[in-house]
Amino acid sequence: MSFFLFLHRCFCKVFGSTVNMDSPVMICCMCHITDVSKSMSARQKLEAQLTENNIVKEELHLLDSQNTVYKLIGPVLVKQDLDEAKATVGKRLEYINGEIQRYETLLKDMERKSEQHREVLASLQQEYQRAQGIPVAKA
């Protein structure tokens, strides 16, 4: 978000009030930045879940079938089979890994897009400066 604010300031400085803030470039930028941050936070959450499920898996290994395993579903502790529990946890782990991969690719794409937008902004800035320079030279 800070980057967006910075861009906003730059844009205003460069183009002044004549440029509409709803210009497509700025909007795109904004969206991208929020998306990026969202993806980042989601990915971090997934990371935490990944570690947690790993620990659960290991601890289930330490137990034997004599112990009863429960799963908390809402307010209810539901009895589960140990093997079933192990399988469930394994499946969850795989799911989490897949999600992480997906988010990674998403992030990469978004990074690329934001880079493009940044370049566009920079070029616009340069143009403006050039335009500014010419009237100064003339005057």
Partner: protein, 503 residues
């Protein structure tokens, strides 16, 4: 300077920012470490409790009712525990099994703590590095600013001033200019070894005094040179520009002084004669020394100057010989020695084993034939290829070739001698014109090189012209050494030759 100032202003800001970031990371790490340490302690107390819990069948406790009230009660089934495994999974297990689980979790916590410690240490060291960097940029650290000063100074050039006819040949005044810088460097290197930046600014008086000193020495050297230049190897003292001489002189002097001042950088100061233009033909030494020069950054500022090739002195006679000034003297002396001892003494080979240039190789590795020193010829020399298929590669070898063919016998030596006398003091540029006169032929290298035994071809040549013995081999050697650099020089030479011919 404004740019510099801005950079200086930005630098501390950037460094501050960097340090701030480092500090933030370190603080975060510390916070996390405290958190995980607390967790570890909790687990340890839990372990203790688990050990003691099954001791009794039931405990009398005060059971918490809500956030504010307690009720007396009993803790039963002390060995049955429902453990949260994570992610909404529970397991019923005994106290001992619970203890195993706790142990397993403690391992994880310890790993996390180790990682955090490592990260903290990393960032602390990084902060230290940035501090060092800041210190170094601000104070006199080991890093040095390399600047190249381009000044226009008049330092009393003696002799005629050469005017640049071509853009390539820069006016030689610049040589003089950079002498000062070179001297500055010398003195800096000598004095500022301990890294004192205050001494890098030398006094004007010192510089001027040094300049005068060098001028005097140059004059003396010129005198000596003129006296010595009776031989074909006479050094080019009058024809070359005075600046060139001065430059070479100064270089040698600088070398001498450099040696006196700082041994390891003597060669550096020698080579750092400024030419402004980095000419394509660099002496190997020059290149190496130049590199040394740049690397020798023990001071806050090093005044870097482009290397200049040592003065190319025309060495006797019509042969194209461009040799470095320092090499010239050495060879001349060695030539004289050889001349004196060459007849009988076969041990004269041992005299000069010092090899400083490729031409020295030919001087050192000489054959002894008939009690005389017969220098080996390079395969590139026409002499060695008398009967070979290939043609000559250079004008000089062409000249040799022709001379040998046309002027056989003593006349040849005379020719050489006359050439040497005549061309004594003539710049290298004359050589193409002179050598072309007898030949009128200029062949390019055919591409075939047949190495011949140099002895048979050289014997008649040398025995016939004993007086020219010291000179011819030297000249040949010089040719060899200068053959390569000659090629690019030729273009310049012709113009110079034309100009000199006009004079």
């Amino acid at each position: 300077m404004a740019g510099n100032m801005n950079a200086n202003y930005d630098l501390p800001q950037g460094v501050e920012r960097l340090k701030e970031e480092h500090r933030k990371v370190v603080k975060d790490c510390k916070g996390q470490i405290t958190h995980w340490k607390k967790v570890e302690k909790d687990y340890e107390s839990l372990q203790e409790r688990l050990v003691t819990l099954p001791d009794k069948l039931s405990y009398d406790i005060m059971v918490p009712f809500g956030p504010l009230a307690f009720m007396p009660g009993k803790l039963v089934h002390t060995n049955e525990l429902t453990v949260l495994l994570g992610d909404n999974w529970f397991a019923k297990c005994s106290a001992k099994q619970a203890e195993t689980l706790v142990e397993h979790r403690k391992k994880h916590v310890k790993n996390k703590l180790d990682d955090l410690h490592k990260v903290m240490k990393n960032f602390q060291s990084r902060a230290g590095f940035t501090e060092d960097l800041e210190k170094m940029t601000n104070d006199n650290g080991d890093f040095v600013d390399i600047k190249e000063k381009v000044e226009e100074e008049e330092a009393g050039t003696k002799g005629k001033h050469r005017v640049a006819h071509k853009p390539k040949s820069k006016p030689k005044e610049e040589y003089v200019v950079q002498l000062e810088e070179e001297r500055e460097e010398e003195e800096e290197e000598a004095e500022g070894e301990d890294g004192e930046s205050s001494k890098r600014v030398l006094s004007e008086e010192e510089l001027w005094a040094r300049l005068d000193e060098l001028e005097r020495m140059e004059d003396e050297q010129d005198e000596r040179d003129r006296m010595d230049s009776t031989d074909t190897n006479g050094e080019d003292t009058s024809s070359s520009s005075s600046e060139e001489e001065k430059e070479a002189e100064a270089g040698r002097e600088a070398q001498v002084n450099g040696q006196s001042q700082c041994e390891n950088q003597a060669s550096v100061s020698h080579i750092v004669q400024v030419n402004g233009i980095a000419k394509p033909q660099h002496d190997e030494e020059a290149k190496e020394d130049d590199d040394e020069e740049e690397e020798g950054s023990s001071l806050p500022t090093i005044y870097f100057c482009h290397t200049v090739e040592p003065k190319k002195v025309r060495i006797n006679t019509g042969k194209n010989t461009t040799l470095k000034f320092s090499d010239r003297k050495e060879q001349k002396q060695q030539g004289k020695r050889k001349k004196k001892n060459g007849k009988t003494n076969s041990h004269s080979i041992q005299e000069h084993h010092k090899i400083t240039s490729p031409s020295d190789i030919y001087r050192v590795f000489v054959d002894v034939l008939n009690g005389e020193l017969v220098p080996r010829k390079s395969i590139l020399k026409s002499r060695s290829r008398e009967n070979s298929v290939c043609s000559d590669t250079s004008e000089s070898s062409t000249a040799d070739f022709e001379e040998r063919r046309t002027f056989f016998g003593r006349a040849q030596s005379h020719d050489d001698a006359t050439h040497s006398d005549a061309s004594d003091g003539i710049t290298e540029e004359d050589s193409p014109s002179i050598s072309l006169y007898p030949n009128g032929r200029f062949e390019a290298f055919s591409g075939t090189v047949v190495e011949k035994d140099p002895l048979p071809s050289s014997i008649p040549h040398l025995t016939i012209a004993p007086p020219a013995l010291p000179t011819i081999p030297e000249r040949k050697q010089e040719e060899v050494s200068s053959e390569v650099p000659q090629e690019p020089i030729k273009r310049v030479s012709k113009f110079k030759a034309a100009r000199l011919q006009q004079k």
